[in-house]
């Protein structure tokens, strides 16, 4: 009776979340996430990276993870708010929302756009969390049969598939990945104890802390990038029509009628795409956008490009649902499939919690509390959002120089508090400069983070497999599961070229969709 034990575990989780202190962490997390996420150009990965140091001294990881879930939801919804109001999506997953959402705002329908995004996020978040509740443990016990070769193969698949899908160019994406893998190599080799690329300094023996890499690439890199183009980009004022109908009536009857199907379709896309290694929310949000557009055309009602509510409802639901999807491989296999998930994994590691098949047995309370906190986080988000929208909008008025100066202060604080010396700040700056040039040259950031975090695991599993097989490299292809995953990895490399391949088979001109699939060179 799997079903019953799940309910018991979940109830236990709810019991922990509803502890007043934990509830406070959840509310605090959502608030902080909203506050930072609503700032223009800042996505969930950067938000979590900036807020990581707050939890360094938590004695209890449960409180920290409840807060992370809140931060994530807050940041995600904050990002949608900014996309809708001032058209500055902080990450690619919000781009689809910005297309129709900002048009709606310009036509004086900002409240309706925000409402369909918030309610859609709640619906999608809740449904997908229910799915997560029921699939996580079974998948976890399946994964407990995994051997070293399987782990090696699936880690490779995650890195390669995400790299192939998220970037505009396979060469640049793979370059990002190898640079990340290289950063992961720095320090003492875990198996033999040999120092690698430490350049004779003691500082590098422990390797480069992943927090430094994340803060450097996201926070400092982004600030330098914005700094270089401040002069040429004018500040955009926020638009929110005066609220005539406060509290209720954000959505008209026809808005509800037009929103609920896109919410459900978005959820159906978001969850599975989040769960497979496809880079998180980017692919499902764009798929949802184009499906809703096609549906609207079929009905002969085409507002798309001119502020169609379906174009906000669908992608927002997909965005939120993909988060629960991303948690499936993250919790059951320890496998992050997006930059944000990689940051979450780093957070797990800070607390010495190793996600994977054993997590549901070793850390049962933690994992079920985390899942329960997703339900609560969604609800808090809905309650705090719409009524308080006037307050959130004030955050958008922070002038950009102060905003980015503040990001620098928090970035420095985060890396400084790792060991209490200025050295970490310098290290983060060096990585930030790398991030700056990566943005200038259009290199994707996510593969670097995945490389840094997954590289060491992958190497360990690889070498462990060879130790077990006495050096026989054929183990990776003779075990069926590993072989299948490795074949999938190779196939993933061709995904970016899919539109072209399909076009060639059909004998038509290829139409490039550079956002869902990488642009080929």
């Amino acid at each position: 009776m799997i079903g019953l034990s799940v309910f018991g575990d979940l109830l236990h989780g709810f019991g922990t979340v509803l502890d007043p202190m934990n509830l406070l962490w959840a509310i605090l997390g959502v608030t902080l996430g909203m506050l930072v996420g609503i700032l223009p150009g800042i996505g969930p990965a950067l938000t979590i990276a900036l807020l990581l140091p707050i939890t360094f001294n938590f004695s209890d990881p449960i409180g920290a993870f409840i807060m992370f879930a809140g931060i994530y939801y807050g940041a995600m919804y904050g990002g949608s708010t900014t996309s809708i109001l001032i058209n500055t999506p902080g990450e690619s997953a919000s781009v689809a929302t910005a297309i129709e959402g900002h048009k709606m705002a310009q036509k004086g329908r900002a409240r309706a756009a925000l409402a369909t995004a918030a309610i859609g996020s709640f619906v999608a978040g809740t449904i997908s969390t229910v799915l997560l509740t029921f699939v996580a443990k079974p998948i976890g016990s399946l994964a407990s049969h995994f051997q070293a070769t399987d782990y090696f193969a699936i880690t490779l698949l995650a890195m390669v598939a995400v790299t192939a899908i998220v970037g505009h160019s396979l060469v640049r994406g793979l370059l990002s990945l190898v640079v990340g893998l290289f950063i992961g190599l720095i320090g003492l080799d875990s198996l033999s104890g040999a120092p690698r690329y430490t350049f004779g300094t003691l500082r590098l023996l422990d390797g480069i802390d992943v927090v430094i890499v994340i803060v450097g690439l996201f926070a400092i890199g982004e600030t330098l990038h914005v700094a270089s183009k401040l002069r040429s980009t004018p500040e955009r004022p926020a638009v929110l029509e005066k609220g005539r109908r406060l509290r209720t009536g954000y959505l008209t009857k026809s808005d509800w009628g037009r929103s609920w199907k896109p919410w459900l379709r978005g959820t159906a896309l978001g969850f599975p795409f989040g769960a497979i290694p496809s880079g998180g929310a980017e692919v499902p949000t764009f798929l949802s956008y184009s499906i809703e557009r096609r549906q609207a055309r079929k009905k002969g009602r085409d507002e798309f490009g001119d502020g169609a509510i379906e174009g906000v409802a669908g992608p927002e639901a997909a965005n939120n649902a993909s988060f629960s999807g991303v948690l499936v491989p993250l919790l059951t296999l320890g496998l992050p499939t997006s930059a944000t998930a990689a940051v979450m994994l780093a957070a797990f590691q800070i607390f010495n919690v190793q996600p994977g098949p054993q997590l549901f047995e070793d850390q049962s309370t933690l994992v079920w509390t985390l899942i329960a906190s997703l339900y609560i986080g969604n609800l808090i988000l809905l309650i705090m959002n719409l009524p308080l929208i006037q307050i959130w909008v004030q955050v958008l008025k922070v002038p950009r120089p102060l905003l980015y100066a503040g990001i620098l202060v928090f970035a420095c604080l985060g890396v400084y508090s790792l060991s209490g010396s200025g050295y970490e700040v310098l290290m983060a700056l060096v990585i930030g400069v790398v991030g700056f040039f990566m943005r200038k040259l259009d290199f994707p950031i996510a593969p670097v983070i995945l490389g840094v975090i997954l590289g060491p695991t992958m190497e360990e599993q690889f070498r462990r497999s060879l130790v077990i097989s006495n050096g026989d490299a054929s183990v990776f292809v003779t075990r069926p599961l590993s072989a299948v995953i490795i074949v999938l990895t190779v196939l993933a490399l061709f995904v970016p070229y899919l539109p072209r391949i399909v076009a060639r088979i059909r004998g038509t001109q290829p139409t490039r969709d550079r956002l869902t699939f990488g642009e080929d060179d």
């Binding site: 690619s92 893998l181 033999s192």
Partner: protein, 174 residues
């Protein structure tokens, strides 16, 4: 789906892409220089593989194998990136990007890293915030000073008192 429909949707997406930061703004020259830097780095690290101590033992792959794999893949990809840059059209995009601000912000961070312990968290951080805001174009002196001081003090108190993270007291002797 007809081609005209595709074109319309392409436009909307294109617009959104412009609005976000997903834009290629580097000229051909910068790309080629970057590729050359990557080639030099990867080649150096590839040679560096042989400096790694590799004990003969139970581990068939050893500590050298992965570095060798990673750095050689890096070298090959860098060469591919160079070829890509060389083949790209020569029209360099007119760039209105400024180099002053990023260089100045980097310099501020170096100073901060050197001064945060001797000066103390409060003074160094307030100065960092103020100077960064000025570099990034803020022109309201009083506001910048007030925000710098208030933000720094709030962060200091929150982190030292509530989160038990120790921050340097420095010359203020806190």
């Amino acid at each position: 789906m007809s081609t005209s429909e595709e074109a319309v949707s392409g436009e909307a997406v294109e617009e959104a892409v412009k609005a976000s930061d997903v834009e290629v703004e580097a000229s051909r020259l910068v790309r080629i220089i970057a590729a050359l830097v990557l080639i030099v780095l990867s080649a150096t690290f590839l040679v560096g593989v042989f400096d790694i101590r590799s004990p003969k033992g139970f581990d068939p792959a050893g500590p050298r194998f992965f570095p060798l794999l990673v750095t050689s893949a890096w070298l090959v990809l860098s060469i591919a990136y160079l070829l890509e840059g060389l083949r790209s059209p020569k029209t360099a995009r007119a760039t209105d990007r400024s180099w002053f601000e990023p260089v100045a912000v980097s310099a501020l961070l170096v100073l901060y890293a050197l001064l945060v312990v001797p000066l103390g968290y409060l003074i160094a951080t307030a100065l960092l915030f103020f100077a960064a805001a000025r570099v990034l174009g803020s022109r309201q002196l009083v506001r910048d000073i007030v925000v710098a001081v208030v933000l720094t003090v709030v962060v200091y108190i929150a982190f030292t008192q509530f989160l038990d993270i120790s921050l340097p007291g420095g010359v203020l002797g806190l």
